[in-house]
Amino acid sequence: MPSGRHSRLPPLTLIKDDHQGGAGQAHSVRELDWSILMARAQDGDRAAYRRLLEGITPFLRSLAARRHRDLSDAEDAVQDVLLTLHAIRHTYDPARPFGPWLVAIANHRLIDLLRRQGRLRSRETALMPEHETFSADQANLYERVLDRRNLQEAVEKLPAGQRQAIRLLKLEEKSLKEAAAISGMSIASLKVATHRALKRLRKTLAKGGAPR
């Protein structure tokens, strides 16, 4: 509660010696104050409305803090209550006490917010390290190593001519002429061997893994 409101109370609190009674009276005076401010706000008094909203915010915060542990959640709830109060300010009847009206709105909104959070939490899963993946090459090393080994094994299992053709032309990326000079095979037979080797590799790798 803002301290400014206390300063208007002394005439009332001084009469009562009993501290408890004084507090009760202060409470009802505060409520009466809010009720008058709200009635004036309904008639279009903006300053009264601003004073009312500023006055009830600490009270709403204390209500919200009881239901929400997280401070930002509580503040969110307070704003939600303020927006709702603004939208349905027609429904306040100045002949009735302001407190129950405000508390009822606040409770409805606070519980709604809790329900909404509950629903969200039941559908969401927290992001754990094992859910993470990266597009960078380094992140997928394991699979690449596996693929490489499979390919090497498959190449080892090829017949000698085909193996040499693949190694020279594809793995070492030599030209047909260089490969022909190194292996002593004709260009035509190198082409045929490469073609057959690729076909065979495609078959074995598609089966999943090197041929046994």
Binding site: A41, Q42, D43, G44, R46, A47, Y49, R50, L53, E54, T57, E75, D76, V78, Q79, L82, L83, T84, H86, A87, I88, R89, H90, T91, Y92, D93, P94, R96, P100, W101, A104, I105, H108, R109
Partner: protein, 224 residues
């Protein structure tokens, strides 16, 4: 996210004077008056069922029709009470006794004349006219109720819409038994329970969407 002092600023800036709602009993009375006017107009245009005077002294019929009327009145009052934030939700129980009597009356009629659950119990010609009455009563009453109850949207939408549609359904069922010869048991069952279940089912399924059409325009959008 906008800070609370900023929010208070913008709310105070955008504030316009509002007209206070009349007391809930007065508003329920207005709605019931509208229902009475609609029933009166329908009575003029469609005509009361010819055997109404003979049927009224029969206790089963009289109890059924007065119970459905009382359910309508009670549910209307309950809906307007519950739409306000500071009224007790015990108002929801107001239409319960009449609703119980109404359903028991239908059930009793079914029990005593269960034999007429046969093809002749359903008349198609009457069905079309019943449907006209249903739409002519139910539609304007539902729309009026919806607009009058729009401030309940952020608070107790489900309870308000359910009692509101119970009121519409009960008044519509009363109209049906006033204007149509629904002596075949199956017809009574279909039209009484059917209308109630239809209104309540539709409103239960769509209450949030329905209210989103008519929610207060002054609700500022939140910037987050």
């Amino acid at each position: 996210m906008i800070t609370t002092p900023d929010l208070i600023d913008s709310l105070a800036q955008s504030m316009t004077p509002v007209r206070r709602l009349r007391p809930p009993l007065v508003r329920a009375g207005c709605w019931l008056m509208l229902a009475a006017i609609i029933l009166g107009l329908l009575a003029v245009s469609q005509g009361i069922r010819p055997d109404l005077l003979q049927r009224l002294p029969q206790s089963g019929f009289a109890i059924g029709i007065s119970a459905s009327l009382l359910t309508g009145i009670g549910a209307a009052i309950a809906a307007f009470m519950v739409s306000l934030p500071d009224r007790s939700h015990l108002w929801l129980l107001l239409p319960a006794p009449a609703l119980f009597v109404w359903l028991s009356a239908i059930g009793y009629q079914c029990l005593t004349r269960w034999i007429s659950f046969e093809p002749s119990g359903v008349e198609l010609g009457e069905t079309a006219r019943c449907f006209a009455t249903l739409v002519l009563t139910g539609l304007p009453l539902s729309l009026a109720m919806l607009v009058m109850l729009r401030y309940a949207a952020p608070l107790r939408p489900t309870a308000t819409v359910l009692t509101g549609s119970l009121a519409v359904a009960a008044i519509t069922a009363t109209a049906l038994s006033l204007f149509h010869q629904l002596d075949a048991t199956v017809m009574i069952l279909i039209w009484n329970l059917g209308t109630a279940v239809m209104f309540i089912g539709l409103s239960g399924a769509f209450h949030r969407k329905i209210f989103s059409w008519v929610t207060p325009r002054s609700m500022p959008h939140r910037q987050s």
